[in-house]
Amino acid sequence: MSGEEFVPLSLTPLLIGTFAAIACALPGNFLVLRKQALIGDAISHVVLPGIVVAFLVTGAISTWPMMLGAAGAAIVAVVLIEAIRRLGQIEPGAAMGVVFTTMFAAGVLLLEQTDTSTVHLDVEHALYGNLESLIWLDATGWGSLLDVEALAGLPPELPRIALTLVGVSVFTWLFWRPLKISTFDEGFARTIGIRTGALGMALVITAAIAAVAAFDAVGSIIVIAMFICPPAAARMLTNRLEAQIAWSIVFATASAVSGYVLAGYGPLWLGGSDAVSAAGMIATMSGLILAAAAMFGPCRAHIGAHTST
């Protein structure tokens, strides 16, 4: 494919999909090890009331208020989950389940009470995103990457998810050591002065922000898949957290790129005529990678095989 076709039509969706996948996979590594991976699922549900409230307040469909509403709802949810878990001495899975169903239900009720005929808040759009539509029409070829005028026409999702990825990466790099220690041994972490409660909260809030930014760009199905599949597959390839994180980035990228390409061209290769959903294909690819790792990964035998008695 020539640059004239590739740059305007495929480069931005590929980059957005890849950045979103990595931004979710990075905190996903810690969430999976902390058995909190379903928080991605929870966040994708709780953003609904946030978006509806943002719409009610501003009365318009504009991106920033909606994203702020979604992020606000996500943060309220993770704080509620932590509070229920700690005060009620309830296991994290149950606390998540209670909070996200309640908040999602409240979102549905709110939506029902508002005039939705003028509002484009349909479920399909939210679930699968609209990756294919994030094209860069101002580009004419690779040279456009240096053209200021053309760059101004980039889909706004791209700088947004890029910035989110930078934020998530900096958080992971900066707090690498305390995150690792407190994920492995929370009691010990507290005795050396790590504020494990605040750090755990910062981790889920980082995950929530990554989820909301990715949700806006690529839909919730990728978010849920990327929190779990690349880190879980990476765990089966290595026994070192550092290597696990590197592999999870490789798998997130591979899922995004292969999923996007297969969704666009796979059906044509098979003799069909229509492309399929890129988001759906990316999530499917991440699942296939996980399945392959589960069958052939060199370190899969240790997980859960050794009980600590």
């Binding site: 001495q89 050591r177 220690i181 994920t183 005795t191 290597a243 600590s308």
Partner: protein, 267 residues
């Protein structure tokens, strides 16, 4: 006695708080309606090995965790070497119960020991050759040098316990607090651990161990602290570890035969 006068006019040295590596006053911890630890005073003797003893559910581990700020007490005061806990964290090493962590965590033995150096390393400090050498030395002291590159899930229970002890050694602390280090370990490990703890004592360090095996108390420890939610007894083994105090701590849960056996062992 000079100085160190607290607000209510009692000198800290008089109350024994000033010199003690770990002093607890009026500590109450509750996980629900029922207190796990109720109004406990404890004064750990410096340079000694102290066993915290009591029946299951008596609050032994909770006492340790509350003293370390891992669980929040309802009330009470903790001082470490005469100062608030936060100011003295660098002087404390803690070995949690082995079963409290997930041993499938993706990390190697040497990485766990290096966690003991995290205060020195800070947030972004690089692990240098001297840090690795220190970690290897600590592994050597517990006889685990050859296992440095193993994944921690591949170790036996006793080996895992020794790795935890090596991490505590790497912290270079003055006060060592261990929660059930002998639970479910092989005889060789128990021997290795007690040898290390005795060497710490000889080096002037203070060691506190939550312990469950009454038969080894007299061999291993200088002091005992008996607890059953409330403090039952505290003092040198010869004074505080008696048939009466054991009966008081364990009640009907300890067979009379066991108490007789211990009484005989105590002479």
């Amino acid at each position: 006695m000079l100085g160190l006068v607290s607000n209510d006019g009692v000198t800290l040295e008089d109350s024994g708080l000033g010199e003690s590596p770990l002093a607890v006053r009026g500590l109450t911890v509750s996980y629900g309606q029922k207190p796990a630890v109720f109004s406990v005073d404890m004064t750990v003797q410096p340079g000694a090995m102290t066993a915290i003893i009591g029946p299951n559910g008596a609050g032994k581990s909770t006492l340790l965790k509350a003293a370390l700020g891992i669980v929040n007490p309802l009330s009470g005061q903790v001082t470490v070497f005469g100062q608030p806990l936060e100011a003295q964290r660098a002087r404390i090493a803690y070995v949690p119960q082995r079963a409290s962590v997930d041993w499938d965590f993706p990390t190697r033995v040497i990485d766990v020991v290096l966690m003991g150096l995290s205060r020195e390393l800070g947030l972004l400090g690089r692990v240098r050759a001297r840090h690795k050498a220190c970690a290897m030395d600590c592994l050597n002291r517990v006889g685990m040098r050859d296992f440095a590159d193993r994944q921690i899930g591949q170790l036996s229970g006793g080996q895992q316990q020794r790795v935890f002890l090596a991490r505590a050694l790497a912290q270079g602390a003055d006060l060592y607090l261990l929660d059930e280090p002998f639970a479910g370990v092989d005889a060789a490990t128990e021997k290795a651990i007690i040898a290390v703890l005795k060497s710490l004592k000889e080096a002037g360090k203070t060691v506190v161990v939550v312990h469950h095996d009454l038969a080894t108390v007299t061999d291993y420890f200088d002091h005992v602290f008996l607890i059953n939610t409330r403090k039952v007894a505290e003092g040198p083994v010869s004074e505080a570890f008696t048939a009466e105090t054991l009966q008081a701590a364990y009640g009907g849960r300890l067979a009379t035969a066991q108490i007789d056996q211990i009484s005989r062992a105590l002479g």
